[in-house]
Amino acid sequence: MVLVAFAALMAVHFAVTFAFPGADLITHLLLAGVAAASLVVGLVALTLRGDGGAPVAAPELSFATALLALGVAAVVVGAMAGRWLVLIGAGMAAFGVAGLVREGR
């Protein structure tokens, strides 16, 4: 409900822009985009069921997650540093994802 209420408020702000002739396309798109996105997420959230605050099934330590982060960082920096770092980063990220899949079993 929070997200739907938020979407409604954003829709009102979007509607008010039409009272101002100088409002440009980007302004309309950004406001409408947030209103629409929060409505969609809100409707999806309404279908979610709470678990009453139960513990989460996750390992206490997840090195695969850290490896994934390192891989993503290397890919992003590699976009500037060169393809060699992108490839190393992609490899690390792939190992990280594989580790996460293994943790999930």
Partner: protein, 526 residues
Amino acid sequence: MTLLDFVGGTDHKSVAKRILATAFAFMLAGGAMAMVIRSELLAPGMQVTSVETYNALFTIHGSTMIYLVVTPVALALGLYFLPLQIGSAAAAGPRAALLGYWLYALGGLTMFSGFLTKGGAAKAAWPAFDPLAGAVHSPGSGMDLWIAGVFLAVAGTLVLGWCLLLTTLRKRAPGMTLLRMPVFTWTMVATSLMVVFAFPVLLVALALLYAERQGGDVMGGGVTYQHLFWFFGHPVVYVMFFPFLGAVLEVLAVFSGRRFFGYAAFVGSILLFTSLSMSVWGHHMFTTDAVANGYFALTSTALIVPAGVEYFDAIATMWGGRIRASAAFLFAVGFLVEFLIGGLSGIWVASPPIDFHANNSYVVVAHLHFVLVGGSLFGIFAAAYYWWPKVTGWFLRESLGKLHFLLFAVGTNLTFLPQFVLGEDGMTRRIADYPASEGWEGLNVASSIGAYVLGLSIVVFCVNIAVSWVVPRRAAGDAWGAGQTLEWATTSPPPPANFAGPLPEVRSYAPLWDAREADARVEVAA
């Protein structure tokens, strides 16, 4: 915490503590840069740095404080306390939270690595305006590393924002309905909404900026970048404010010995506040003549309505209470006073004619710093003194805390009040030098002395931590003996699954207060 825990620990409290420690380290670095900046401005002429270095320093100082300190601290507080306040054993997506931490930390290191490059770190200010941040005006890999670093740090905080939103939606304890969530939790919901819906736009803007630096007019001029940047850049100010507002309101209620006043109005106003904060970005662009100034002046001025409700609630909570003037309480009151200066000067520049006058002057610097020091740092320290015993199991020293507060309050006002006068007199922001003939030296000296006092106050805080750690004074579960929310219903520090025993019944946003009232009624009846 072992090295293995540091790298891969997934407990939400552990991840939050790592974010807080990392942010504190970045804050010391960003603060040191501020000291160099203020030292340079002590007198006309270049004494301490070169113009190039000065430009890099104010760029990385601003970027550090916003992307690497206050925003991550805001989310870390939520990551630690939100699950506790809603009675959950864990946060949703613990591995995602860990991923968020590492993306943020690596992003910070990437940004700082710009200092190691030949041309030095980025010099295009914390918004990296286009075309100033383009390849022509900002050549070299320092700017590229800034883009990569901010991209990673913002991506990390975006992941943390999703974790918090999903935790609120999915992991509330039985009885914890939305309208029974504590005040701080509500401010974290508002914060996560802004993170989830505004931060992706900055990622897009940074990608486009990077593409422009590779050659090619991707955005068709600087206005598009400004739209995308400020669509992130204004909500992020509230991301750096709401969580501390929530913490301050909890502190005021606990140390006034009263239930929080006006809960329903607060919930409505925080949602209105959130939506308005995402509809005001164009006021940063009044002078571009490319936005609907009337619309953005209206939404910006309207912010005073929900802000007024929050202030009314805060004052009414204290009214008639049994006030304990602890360090946390003093910082909370300081937050209200200092942010008021920042907020009201914000309403002032929300008027386009006045903004045309004040644009790009030190008035804006003073306004921004009263918002971020008043509305963020005072709140951070209120939260630190309030929740420290919960996180560590031992109290910080109150006497040193009050000295910290005194120095911090004096330093804040001495640093930033003169900047309003300097700005009014025409001193432009982001300049390394100013002519002696303008007569600005006295006010700049006062401002710099204030900055040194602020630095001294941080030293006192560090001494407080050290003294309190060496000779600890242990804290009980309800450390202040007046806790109202569920984090005080568990041990200090909390066990791995947060709550060892059954939770108190949740019938309002202040379940421990309800329990004490019920006990008192039983005693009276007996």
